[in-house]
């Protein structure tokens, strides 16, 4: 059964190739069916593979072909089947499939429809390689692959230069992270001689060959890779800009796939990270700072997708906080629930944008509840789920992160609670401004309002159901124990990642749960009073009143800062190198050297004056001297 795993990435790859090379004459529905069918097949196969892992089978490695060979070190194209990879498989293909189906409806009118579906397939292909690869090198293949696919998808509407800039920014910032990952791999390879998980963690545990600062440095380099891909401070700036792509892309990149790669990598390397307290602290602090930054910026954004984008940044921050505290399985848990509700929210926002004829500004929306009933209900479910209100999915995973923080580090506990309060606030702000109150857009837009077609709403409904029930795969330990509900996910992952065993009483855990719920509800109420009760208050956000507000609305000026301290200096150095160093210094030196022979020559050439007599005289003189020395 495990052998089937090598088929999983093949489906989307074939889908991509088929659509690109043979898809020209086919109708859009056929293309859509091929594209989503490929992912569906991958999903079915993933379930089959997943079932082999349900009862604690050993990790299996399935080799496909030889790839890179050197005398002592080989990299194969081969896949690893273990709980961590299979659970990722499930939600990548599952959520990916729903997004594909949704895209058929969303992109139906676009002239680049074929291209779009093909790119999505390729994206899923690389994401599958990423999680299935049996070594860091194979993971890197997928790692870079999703980077390039995100470049193609973010810049999908390539005639608009702003999109291309966003795409390029995403790719280049990702590349900075990739460099970190390469260096991490270099260090691991240097100290252990291998990059395969099997040798490093499973059968050999060669990873213990890393010690001291080598270990810390290797882990930090790996984390830099994760920063790039999962948009952590200071490499987070690409993600909000990446909203330039079509909305299904945002859903795919932000929810189910690309950004979760960083979490996957850290969880996969849990043996390295848990051995390095320094790196773990770095991860934790970077995570919590990102979480706060994302949440505060999200408060002030008026673009429906930007709010969700910063919310993603913030949620990813929380996941990294969990990773930094050693709660690897809980981070993975939050990745999964987040995949459900964030995909739901993005697709819901896509449905809204679709109905509004491309409008993304929530100040021009409002009152969409009656026009888009299904979108409204599902969006509300997503909002409740992300806000952490029981018993929806987000509650369980987020609450466990906060619980771990409570045990591990009080500062983290306070900050994480603040983040979750802010989350509830800005999400309900978004919800109220979009769906409640009265419509604030133009008359024409109002006339155009309509619910999306079934092909778009059905994925929403499925995701809404998952967002409601998804949390039960990880029922809280202590309370669950009392209620005889096991923490299924922890059991499932316990042999794959390092485990954080929480020693918490039922009482403490219950109090924490209640506290978290209360915080979320209070935030929700504040949002309600602010944006719902006095209906037109939304427009207040138009005017920027305080400097804090200004800072937040400008995203802490980080983009401007990078522009000033990195981009412009690098460009200036490059120009300087081109205009001064190259011609005036290096080439000038070469010229000076070349002057030496000609300088000597100009001295000697005085003898060659063209007077025949002089030559003859010199010849005879030479002859006489020669003869006289001989005699």
């Amino acid at each position: 059964m495990e052998k089937l795993v090598s088929l999983i990435p093949v489906f989307p790859l074939v889908g991509f190739l088929y659509i690109i090379f043979l898809g020209k004459g086919l109708s859009k529905n056929t293309i859509g069916a091929i594209g989503s069918g490929a992912i569906f097949l991958a999903f079915i196969t993933s379930i089959l593979v997943f079932t082999t892992q349900l009862h604690g089978a050993n990790p299996t490695i399935v080799k496909v072909i030889d790839w890179i060979t050197t005398p002592k070190f080989d990299i194969d194209i081969s896949f690893i089947v273990d709980p961590l990879s299979t659970i990722y498989l499930l939600f990548i293909t599952g959520v990916g499939f729903l997004i594909h189906v949704y895209s058929i409806g969303y992109m139906h009118e676009d002239e680049g429809f074929n291209r779009f579906i093909a790119y999505l397939n390729l994206f899923v292909f690389f994401m599958l390689i990423l999680v299935l690869g049996d070594s860091y090198a194979m993971m890197f293949v997928g790692w870079e692959g999703v980077g390039v696919c995100s470049f193609m998808l973010i810049g999908f509407w390539y005639k608009d230069m702003a999109n291309n800039d966003a795409a390029k920014k995403a790719f280049i910032i990702n590349r900075i992270g990739d460099l970190g990952l390469i260096l991490g791999m270099c260090m691991i390879f240097f100290h252990t001689g291998t990059l395969r998980y099997d040798d490093l963690f499973i059968s050999e545990s060669a990873a213990s060959g890393l010690h001291g600062w080598d270990l810390h440095l290797a882990a930090i380099f790996l984390f830099i890779g994760a920063m790039g891909k999962s948009a952590q401070i200071p490499l987070h700036t690409w993600l909000p800009d990446a909203m330039a792509g079509p909305t299904p892309v945002s859903a795919l990149i932000h929810a189910a796939t690309m950004v979760t790669a960083g979490i996957y990598m850290v969880a996969r390397s849990s043996a390295i990270f848990s051995a390095s307290d320094v790196a773990s602290d770095v991860v934790m602090w970077a995570g919590i700072l990102t979480a706060i930054l994302g949440a505060t910026i999200a408060l002030t954004q008026n673009d429906i997708k930007k709010v969700l984008a910063y919310s993603t940044v913030s949620q990813l921050g929380l996941m990294f906080t969990a990773l930094g505290m050693g709660a690897y399985s809980i981070a993975v848990f939050h990745v999964i629930t987040h995949a459900f509700f964030k995909a739901l929210l993005f697709l819901g926002s896509g449905s809204v944008i679709h109905a509004m004829g491309g409008e993304q500004d929530i100040r021009r929306m409002g009152g969409l509840k009656s026009h888009l009933p299904i979108t409204h209900i599902t969006f509300l479910i997503g909002t409740i789920a992300i806000s952490g209100i029981p018993p929806l999915a987000g509650f369980f995973s987020k609450d466990q992160i906060i619980a771990v923080a409570f045990e591990e580090n009080m500062i983290m506990f306070v900050l994480a609670s603040v983040v979750s309060a802010l989350t509830a606030f800005y999400m309900f702000r978004l919800y109220f401004l979009t769906f409640r109150g009265s419509f604030r857009g133009t008359h024409e837009q109002e006339h155009h309002l309509h619910e999306s077609p079934k092909v778009m709403t059905i994925p929403l409904i499925v995701l809404a159901v998952l967002s409601i029930f998804g949390g039960f795969m990880g029922f809280p330990h202590a309370v669950g124990h009392a209620m005889h509900v096991p923490h299924w996910l922890d059991h499932f992952l316990e042999n794959t990642v390092e485990m954080e065993v929480l020693d918490m009483s039922v009482g403490t855990e219950s109090i924490l749960m209640i506290l978290a719920t209360v915080i979320a509800l209070i935030s929700m109420y504040i949002a309600y009073t602010k944006y719902m009760k006095n209906g037109e208050l939304a427009l207040e956000d138009d005017e920027i009143t305080s400097s804090t507000h200004q800072t937040l609305a400008s995203k802490y000026y980080i983009d401007e800062l990078y522009e000033k301290i990195i981009r412009r200096p690098v460009d200036a150095i490059a120009q300087f190198a081109r205009n001064v160093v190259e011609p005036k210094i290096i080439d000038e030196l070469v010229k000076q050297v070349s002057l030496i022979p000609s300088g000597l020559g100009s001295v000697a050439k005085a003898a060659q004056n063209g007077k025949l007599v002089m030559y003859v005289l010199a010849m005879i003189a030479g002859l006489i001297i020669l003869l006289s020395t001989l005699i």
Binding site: I65, D66, W67, I68, T69, T70, P71, K72, F73, I77, A137, F140, V141, G142, E144, G145, V148, F151, G155, Y158, K159, D160, M161, N164, D165, K168, F171, I172, R175, I176, D178, L179, I182, L183, M185, C186, M187, F189, F190, V570, D571, I573, A574, Q575, A577, R578, N579, V581, E582, I586, D587, L589, V590, S594
Partner: protein, 483 residues
């Protein structure tokens, strides 16, 4: 004997083209390319099955000085022979969209050059290596001088010729010094390795410096690179391809052939400076590439950056980096042909290569943009393209030498993406505009050539294994001889 055929075919075909020339020149040239490719693949198969006896040829030439006609193809040189054989027909075919004055001379010179480069790759004797290394300069000199562009090309070619010739003198001195220590006197590689290794560490360091300067000029490595952009710019596209795809590989290959086994201790003790300048070159050339407005110059500088990594990697003397270096040479050759052909396509249509005066080509000609995109991806070393295999192994190898150098060298990952994507964006993306609206569809020849390049880039990226297997054992032996 087979090896001799690999050198003789280009040289004889070159003569044939000179003589029969005029009308049949390009057909004959392409035929020669296909013949060469077939022979090389045959040789590779022979090597794979251990049939090495027909791959070596040894005959006395200048007896008293111990100079022999000694050619042999082993696991190292076969990679370069494959590179030559793959590049040759592609380069010839890339010229089919243009007509040249005196085509028989043009194609004759191209094949003369290919033959001499093949001679250098297959040399089994340092004297032969040096001889062919230098002969290759003559045809390319005339190719640029006669068929190049720009009024300053006599000056440019003179600079190129004298600069590389000057660098080679240091190598000659080093080789003669080692030769003086062989007994009986011979230029054969094996004896030269022994003689070199028996020198004192300081002597080895000096010999290394001499050889490295010659190669540093040829590759070129910072700060010896200033001849290169102007030469690439002046040369006809086919000439640029010859230079970038094959000729500079003589130097990178020379590092493996002459430097590593001959002066290992000197390299380890006194060779740091060479790695450092190679790595500086990576960053410096990448920055320069970022600042270019002209596409051809951008490719030229990106080539300097890539070669810097190859050089640094190989000098770090470990199996991963040498394997990576060999594969990167192959990959870089193919990508260089692809990139310069893209330049050629743009230049023939727009008459210039100013990137800021383009944009929107993708909207007009999506096929071209797609093919170029894959070449760009190969050039930025995306996994599953040929560029990745080499670059990854090189960085992995370099990191065993020094983590700091790897961090700086690794900047090529980021900066390469910056300038390549910038070029892609400036030329291809954006709305249709008047600059490029007349960008006509690709001709059949252009499509075929770009497709071959793209297939090779992706194919070698996914299946590098057969090629890497060829060199695996040879790399192992090489390193075993050093330690």
């Amino acid at each position: 004997m087979l090896t001799i055929a690999l050198i003789a075919v280009p040289l004889l075909m070159s003569g044939l083209i000179f003589v029969l020339g005029q009308k049949l020149a390009r057909q004959l040239a392409l035929l020669a390319g296909i013949l060469q490719l077939a022979l090389t693949v045959f040789a590779a198969i022979q090597l794979k099955y251990g049939n090495t006896s027909i791959l070596t040829f040894q005959q006395n030439w200048i007896g008293p000085l111990g100079i022999q006609y000694h050619f042999s193809l082993d696991g190292l040189s076969i990679i370069l022979a494959l590179l030559t054989a793959i590049s040759a027909p592609l380069i010839v075919y890339s010229t089919f969209n243009r007509t040249f004055k005196s085509p028989h001379v043009f194609y004759g010179l191209i094949w003369l050059m290919i033959g001499s480069m093949m001679g250098a790759f297959a040399a089994g004797d340092a004297f032969i290596f040096y001889l062919f290394y230098e002969i290759a300069l003559i045809p390319i000199y005339f190719l640029i001088l006669i068929w190049g562009s720009g009024d300053d090309r006599p000056k440019v070619t003179m600079k190129f010729f004298v600069y590389t010739m000057f660098g080679s003198l240091f190598m000659l001195a080093s080789l003669l010094y080692v030769y003086a220590h062989t007994s009986p006197k011979t230029f054969g590689f094996e004896a030269m390795y022994q003689a070199g290794q028996s020198l004192s560490v300081l002597e080895q360091g000096l010999v290394f410096a001499g050889i490295f300067i010659a190669f540093a000029v040829k590759m070129p490595v910072f700060p010896f690179h200033t001849w290169q952009p102007s030469t690439y710019k002046a040369a006809p596209t086919a000439g640029t391809m010859l230079l970038a795809a094959i000729m500079l590989k003589m130097a990178t290959f020379g590092l493996i052939r002459l430097v590593l086994p001959m002066v290992p201790d000197g390299l380890a003790e006194y060779g740091n400076w060479a790695l450092v300048i190679s790595v500086i070159g990576i960053v410096y050339a990448s920055l320069l590439a970022m600042a270019q407005k002209q596409f051809k110059l951008l490719i030229a500088y990106s080539s300097v950056a890539h070669v810097g990594l190859i050089s640094a990697g190989i000098l770090s003397t470990n199996a991963e980096a040498i394997q990576g270096g060999l594969f990167e040479m192959l990959s870089h050759g193919i990508l260089a042909i692809g990139l310069f052909f893209v330049y050629d396509i743009i230049e023939t249509r727009l008459g210039h290569d100013q990137m800021d005066k383009m944009g929107g080509i993708r909207a007009v000609n999506p096929t071209f943009a797609f093919l170029y995109f894959i070449i760009v991806m190969g050039s930025v070393a995306l996994p599953f393209t040929s560029g990745f295999v080499g670059e990854f192994l090189l960085l992995l190898g370099l990191s065993q030498y020094s983590l700091w150098l790897t961090i700086f060298g690794g900047l090529t990952v980021v900066l390469g993406a910056v300038y390549m994507l910038r070029s892609f964006q400036m030329m291809m993306l954006g709305p249709e505009n008047t600059n490029t609206s007349g960008f006509t569809a690709l001709t059949r020849q252009e499509k075929i050539l770009l497709s071959i390049v793209v297939i090779l880039v992706v194919g070698l990226g996914i299946f590098p294994h057969p090629i890497m297997d060829l060199s695996n054992k040879a790399v192992e032996t090489l390193l075993a001889n050093i330690r």
